[in-house]
Symmetry: C2
Subunit: 283 residues, 2 copies
């Protein structure tokens, strides 16, 4: 099936026609610029359900930086071609007019954990993300929705929202897919110049350094975070935002690694902001 | 069927057992203290659907006044007895622990029209109302949900939320049911002393005065609102909050009655706050 014949819904009327009437439906929300990480979500959704819908929508309300929004890669035809190779996923590609007919006056927000980490660095980001995810979950009406663990706080907040609002869709988290050198797949990786691409290895290297600290017997969370931070600080062309060992449910910093935690790192590599994280298990 | 044998779900596991598997489901959300207005919603829901569920939950997050919450009438056994007479509605009566396991950290809000009228007088009221309605709509999973027109701004904001979030439940507005002397049915009417009950007639009388002003040819919205306000001002024991001729979609004040509008009035009668409204059609 070629990209041109992949079934694409641009609005609700299209979607009502395309939407499968029977069986289970898996849903993969994306902002396009698809990479192997997205494709792993789609494969899993196709595996676990009778049908799969992938949404492609660059959501303006979750960009705190207008430059980042303007530059965000739009590769719709390539995206459809990649999806067409996986089988027959349906594509939901609504316009902003359709999704925000209300002028973004109706908003969902999380008033505790969303203020940490990314919430501190990107004001309004999580309100925009949660609001569009809820709209898309309602439109898709899927049984399961698939999110990558790379955006750890996003995944956790989506779960929190779905549980708090008793939304019927089940949220499935999927492991981060990495390049051969360990860099987490991200649509923003394509912004990186060759030099920046090399520098970006500092992110997965920082996670590995923290793990070595734990393997050496350290349980002090500040020391573990500092080991990660040091790798980011020392990498040329990398400006770290944070390296934090946090509770995986609340994102609040831990003092001691006496239970499972997550190390989250964020850094700018040139103009591009990248995230990564790893689950830390006490030894 | 007696009240004792009416099927009541206290939590999600109960509701999963009770919830009809086939056919259409109508949903009537209430805070209990049922009156003929509620019963008209239930009758309509039973008429238009194969089954009907009524929720009874006094939602703490929509009370701006703790005294009002503490005093709110709890008449669960009477409510069930009234419902049992209508047929076999299911009852969903969750506890606050179940509905607010998230600590009310996840919230839905409307950032434009919710600031008008009641929003001005009851800070936080509409956030609490919208959030609980969305939770209950998701739990109920009904085809249609029924709301009274007496709480005009509530009905309009629920419609706005459901449209903005693409929620699949259809919202049905139902006419206000009135006592024989015109007072709009409200759970709070039972607070009124005999003297206050007589004074409360000023609310429907204020709507009638505005209508007479229109019948006499007035199109100036301020004059129409003033006619209503005068009736409230002159009534002994009545303290008006507002009498406003507004756009039925945005609740912003109109200057001229050149299209359908709504006259909304709110007043305290003794300690009890009452609302009423009427649609105004230009002659």
């Amino acid at each position: 099936m070629s990209a041109l014949t992949l079934p694409v819904a641009r609005d609700l009327a299209d979607w009502r026609r395309l939407r499968p009437r029977h069986g289970t439906l898996g849903f993969v929300p994306t902002m396009g610029a698809l990479h192997a990480g997205h494709l792993s979500l789609v494969r899993r959704a196709l595996d676990e359900n009778d049908a799969c819908v992938v949404s492609i929508f660059v959501n303006p309300t979750q960009f705190d930086d207008p430059g980042d929004l303007a530059a965000y890669p739009k590769t719709f035809d390539d995206d459809c071609a990649m999806l067409a190779e996986l089988g027959t996923p349906l594509v939901l590609a609504p316009t902003a007019d359709v999704l925000y007919a209300d002028g973004y006056n109706v908003r969902v927000s999380e008033h505790a954990d969303a203020a940490e980490l990314e919430g501190r660095h990107r004001p309004g980001h999580f309100d925009g993300m949660l609001t569009v995810v809820l709209k898309l979950l309602n439109i898709a009406g899927a049984h399961r929705a698939y999110f990558g663990e790379k955006d750890f706080q996003q995944l956790r907040l989506v779960r929190t929202m779905v549980e708090a609002l008793f939304h019927p869709t089940r949220i499935v988290g999927c492991p981060t897919v990495r390049e051969h050198d360990g860099l987490a797949m991200s649509s923003r990786n394509r912004y990186l110049s060759p030099d920046e691409r090399r520098a970006a290895r500092a992110l997965p290297a920082s996670l590995a350094a923290a793990q070595r600290e734990i393997d050496a017997g350290t349980t002090d969370a500040d020391l573990i975070a500092a080991a990660a931070r040091r790798v980011l600080d020392e990498a040329r062309g990398v400006e770290p935002d944070y390296a934090a060992v946090v509770d995986p449910d609340t994102f609040s910093p831990l003092t001691r690694l006496d239970r499972p935690a997550v190390l989250c790192v964020a850094a700018r590599v040139g103009p591009t902001r990248l995230l990564d994280n790893v689950v830390l298990i006490p030894t």
